[in-house]
């Protein structure tokens, strides 16, 4: 019996040693591969292009579908563990966080850079280095119901005049609608009146020390908005969906929204046209640009191969055209942009021409909620525009100062 017991113990020990070896995945001995994480919409387009690259460069491109909203979060976890992609597609405002954590490799476009829209390159530039190869540029446009507003308003004063006329005559309950806690949609109005978030300098980027939330222009813009609400031309209490519901039911004549909204507005059956966002006293409205592009992981096994893929294969007329045709978004590749004929995309393009990259600096996180709250307090008529914006600016400055104190504490 005792003898047998040791046999059994030996079996256990052998199992413990043999099984892991047997279960271990065989070392991959196949050829070179390049792994790309891409969202559902764009995965088929890239899958279609992969054989061309394999043919010409002898490298297999593996496309892995990841939901657009999950790419960043999963990348943050997977990349340091050595399980992330070589390349992924994402939005330019991710780079601040990813670069701070050392997860992105800069991209060297060389002479190819001049083929991209300068604003798109600016958007992916962080502290003087480029961290993404842009491929589409989106911004907001001005939606109007042409049965109510036949001609596109030139200025925000026109928007007010048209609203007064329509609401006064009882044609529609509201002239212009906007969601009440959303800095993104109010930014073009603010810039048309001369307001800004952070001072922007071409080629350098945003200066977090110069907060413009309470600048004269910003206050003027909020006063305009305040007046619209006070006179019943713009309702309070709207979120994104209710703003759209009012426009789509014909209860509101005008709104500002993005290319992503075209599909739902068309589906509603309401007649609509898109034009450039109206000017203000300080000049043209400057919406935020939302730029999407390819980024390279700092943990890629073969960063040079990833750069060759982007620089020599993706940054060509053929690939950029295929990406555009697969999913029509305004391209960041200038030669293709010039050939676009879709009137809706052209209208968005005109707004985008004056656009500014959405700040990717970490300080921006301090801005959104304070700014949104100020907007909400003004629209809800709880605070005067100047007071609301000054409070917000104070909150933002305090947050930025505290953040900087924290980072310099050690030295």
């Amino acid at each position: 019996m005792k003898h047998r017991s040791w046999i059994l113990v030996t079996i256990v020990l052998i199992a413990m040693v043999v099984a892991p070896v047997a279960y271990r995945p065989a070392v991959q001995a196949q050829g070179q591969t390049l792994t790309i994480w891409v969202d559902l919409n764009r995965a088929p387009i890239l899958e279609g292009l992969a054989p061309d690259f394999a043919d010409e460069y002898g490298v297999e491109v593996v496309i892995q579908q990841v939901g657009f909203g999950d790419i960043r979060d999963q990348f943050i976890v997977a990349a340091p563990a050595g399980e992330g992609p070589d390349i992924f597609i994402g939005a330019h405002d991710w780079i601040g966080e990813l670069v701070a954590s050392g997860l992105l490799a800069p991209i060297d476009l060389g002479a190819n850079e001049e083929n991209f829209l300068p604003a798109a390159i600016d958007a992916f530039t962080y502290e003087g280095d480029l961290y993404g190869m842009p491929y589409s540029v989106e911004s907001l446009g001005f939606f109007r119901n042409p049965e109510l507003v036949p001609d596109a308003p030139e200025t925000w004063d026109d928007v007010r005049a048209i609203s007064e006329e329509l609401v006064g005559a009882g044609t529609v309950p509201y002239g212009y609608v906007i969601q009440e806690n959303d800095p993104f949609h109010v930014f073009p109005l603010m810039t048309a009146f001369g307001g800004y978030v952070f001072a922007f300098e071409e080629g350098v980027g945003y200066d977090p020390q110069d907060v413009g939330i309470d600048s004269e222009g910003a206050i003027a813009a909020f006063e305009w908005l305040d007046g619209m609400v006070e006179d019943g031309l713009t309702p309070d209490g709207l979120d994104y969906d209710s703003m759209h519901a009012l426009f789509e039911s014909g209860d509101a004549a005008m709104m500002v929204s993005g290319p992503w909204a075209v599909e739902r507005v068309s589906a509603s059956g309401v007649p609509f046209e898109i034009s450039r966002i109206p000017d203000g006293p300080a000049g043209p409205a400057r919406p935020f640009l939302s730029v999407q592009g390819f980024m390279v992981s700092a943990f890629s096994d073969d960063p040079q191969l990833a750069q060759i893929f982007l620089n020599e294969f993706v940054a060509t007329d053929e690939t950029m055209l295929a990406l555009y045709e697969g999913e029509p978004r305004p391209p960041a590749w200038a030669p293709i942009l010039e050939e676009i004929e879709d009137p809706l995309l052209i209208a968005f393009g005109e707004s985008a021409a004056n656009g500014m990259p959405m700040p990717a600096i970490p300080e921006m996180s301090a801005v959104w909620s304070a700014w949104g709250s100020a907007m909400q307090l003004v629209i809800q008529q709880q605070l005067e525009p100047a007071e609301a914006l000054m409070d917000a600016a104070e909150q933002i400055r305090a947050a930025i100062a505290a953040e900087q104190e924290e980072t310099t504490e050690g030295s």
Binding site: L103, E394, Q395
Partner: protein
């Protein structure tokens, strides 16, 4: 067997396997071996990934399971070892990990470990410098038959072409090397070039010369492709038009064939033909000796041949490891670029001896301070220190002690509206429990009455809100309460007049009422359920006795039902309170804590509870994630809830005493 009998239970050593049948023991051992094998495989993977904590947890569980099955003393543990294992892995490990994280700086900017960070800082292209007077080049690799490399370099600043090999120094390119000797460009000329020793053949003459040869093959030097001059429509790929009056040259090397306008030159002293072709900015020059120059760049230089795309991608890992030019000051290929090369040097190098980074130009020292390499200002002059970055990015994660808790207590931004938020958190949890319990109890009492018809149907219907997931109900309520489009305000406005309906999103009081309304909807079926159960357990004879004593209905409820009920449901009410203390979902989905508090020092809302408020501070608006700080907050909130719960249990104990008196 004899040994067991002789020495009695437990003295058979640690092995307890053999009390049963042999088959049973074998099955047991087989199962155990499988578990061990899997655990070991998992452990190897975890250690490989350097996930020490989880590895430790798995190790503890595995040893525990083995001990439980192999040791007689631990025999009772066999039966709950699966549950115990799961508890260690799913509850104890995450809890301990959260506590550990609360004492680190694990957050955006400090996500990597120290080894990874040192490697990143040393290789980061952003942390590089070019010595004065140097420039970056675009490099195109060539290779000879011995496997040695040559780089064709074009300066990014001076736009001049250079050549460098692994052995020889960088030299400007000569016309012979470039394959353009004797060629002279003529602006707007037709033909656009003149070539020494060659005469231009106008299209008619060229056609006559070509008529004698079917095709003109230059024996294109890169093996995989061929470039041919095409002199008839039959050779032109579909989709390309051919103007019969001109010569066309089709390049099939790219993804799509490319057409060039072609010019032919004949050597003055023979039949040799030289071809020059233009398409927009692209030019091609093919010499009779086999040398081809595309856009001013040759395909062969001496014995070196330019690499095809396939050859080039195959050596992306090799090329950056080579050195070109001078041995002691070489040119490198940049691994982080498709083509960049130059005499770049890492700016910061890690010195293991002092555990610090040294800046290579000034000798400045960067020492680790709480996971970030920080400039030691004493190591350089003041002027130099001002020019240098104060810290190196990224940082790594490291234990920082009580920093996160200190911040929680001292941060002005968090303290601002803290009291207000804290009071509402308690009020919210308390009122939610009170309201749901009251309604649930009322309905339970009502439906407990045998006089109510179809009680089972009512009960089932009332349970519906409980069956629908909370986040769906909350979103439905969000729509119902929408002040412009929602059904509720639409109806109310008809009664109280337009503009007088409550502002569920804008008025602080109504927003709070709205949340309590949603909580009531979500919570009362549960309360009804537990009250119904508890009510049915109260013996009927007590009521009969009370009735005999002359107690009226209210007195019976007050002195009999309620105390007896609370004994049963009291702990559940406390659990419900603790749950609602942290009920993130409902508030975040309904209005994200809005409406905002005016004149607040930090953005905060009137309906923010502790968890939504701190979430906004720690993770708010996508500016990065501070896991460590969030863990610290979680710990503190846990302590708060625990304190309140213990306090509440004191009350239940008093209820128990009440029940003893009944």
């Amino acid at each position: 067997m004899n040994a067991v009998k002789k020495t009695g239970r437990g003295s058979d050593g640690p092995l307890a396997l053999f009390s049963g049948s042999v088959t049973g023991s074998l099955l047991l051992l087989g199962g155990l071996a499988l578990i061990d094998a899997f655990a070991l495989w998992f452990l190897i993977r975890l250690i490989d990934d350097r996930v020490w904590f989880l590895a430790l947890a798995v190790l503890v569980v595995t040893i525990g399971v083995n001990a439980a099955f192999l040791s007689r003393k631990l025999y009772p543990f066999r039966w709950f070892s699966p549950g115990l294992s799961l508890m260690v892995l799913m509850v104890a490990y995450p809890t301990l990990f959260t506590i550990y994280t609360a004492f680190t700086n694990y957050s955006t900017g400090n996500l990597l470990n120290k080894t990874q960070v040192i490697e990143r800082i040393e290789t980061k292209p952003e942390y590089r410098y070019l010595p004065d007077g140097e420039q970056y080049y675009d490099a195109i690799p060539f290779r000879n038959e011995d496997g040695k490399y040559l780089l064709w370099l074009v300066g990014r600043s001076d736009r001049q072409a250079y050549i460098v090999t692994e052995d020889d120094e960088i030299e400007p390119v000569t016309p012979e090397q470039a394959g353009i000797e004797g060629v002279e460009w003529v602006e707007d000329g037709d033909p656009p070039i003149r070539v020494e020793g060659y005469e231009y053949l106008p299209p008619e003459d060229a056609a006559a010369v070509l008529a004698e040869r079917d095709t003109l093959d230059y024996g294109y030097p890169v093996g995989e492709v061929s470039i041919r001059l095409i002199d008839g429509p039959a050779e032109v790929p579909a989709g390309y038009a051919l103007d019969p009056g001109t010569l066309l040259f089709v390049d099939n090397t790219g993804r799509r064939p490319k057409e060039y306008q072609a010019y032919l030159f004949r050597a003055a002293d023979g039949d040799d033909l030289l071809l020059y072709a233009v398409d927009g900015r692209d030019t091609l020059l093919a010499r009779p000796d086999g040398r081809v120059v595309i856009n001013g760049q040759p395909y062969t230089i001496g014995g070196y041949r330019m690499l095809s795309n396939r050859e080039r991608t195959a050596i992306t890992q090799v090329l950056p490891t080579l050195t070109f030019g001078e041995r002691d000051d070489p040119i490198y290929i940049d691994p982080f670029s498709a083509s960049r090369a130059g005499r770049f040097r890492p700016r910061f190098l890690y010195d293991e001896r002092q555990d610090a980074f040294v800046e290579q130009e000034t000798g400045a020292i960067y020492r680790p301070v709480k996971g970030t390499f920080t400039l030691d200002r004493a190591s350089v002059s003041v002027e130099a220190a001002d020019e240098l970055p104060a810290t190196l990015s990224p940082g790594y994660y490291v234990v920082v002690g009580l920093d996160n808790f200190e911040r929680l207590l001292t941060d002005q931004r968090l303290r601002g509206p803290f009291v207000r938020v804290f009071l509402w958190t308690i009020a919210h949890a308390f009122l939610t429990v009170l309201l749901t319990f009251s309604l649930g109890l009322a309905l339970a009492l009502l439906l407990n009455d045998r006089l109510i018809p179809a009680r089972k149907i009512w009960r089932s219907l009332i349970l519906i809100p409980y069956a629908i997931p909370a986040f769906i109900s909350t979103l439905v309520w969000r729509g119902l309460l929408n002040p412009r489009l929602g059904l509720i305000n639409d109806t109310l406005e008809r009664i109280v007049g337009a503009g007088n309906a409550p502002g569920w999103y804008s008025d602080p009081m109504w927003a709070k009422i709205g949340i309590l309304l949603i909580q009531l909807w979500l919570g009362f079926p549960y309360m009804m359920l537990i009250c119904t159960g508890a009510l049915q357990s109260i013996p009927q004879d007590m009521y009969e006795a009370a009735q005999v004593d002359g107690a009226n209905a209210f007195q019976r409820f007050r002195h009999l039902t309620l105390p007896l009920l609370l004994v049963a449901v009291g702990p559940l009410l406390i659990a419900s309170f603790a749950y609602n203390f942290n009920n993130f979902t409902v508030i975040e989905l309904f209005n994200e804590g809005g409406p905002p508090i005016a004149n607040s020092s930090v953005p905060a809302g009137h309906t923010d509870i502790l968890i939504t408020y701190t979430y906004e501070q720690a993770f708010g608006s996508g500016g990065g994630t501070n896991y460590a700080f969030a863990s610290a907050i979680t710990l503190v909130i846990f302590l708060l809830v625990a304190a309140i719960t213990i306090f509440n249990y004191r009350f239940t104990r008093s209820w128990e005493e009440t029940s003893r008196n009944v």
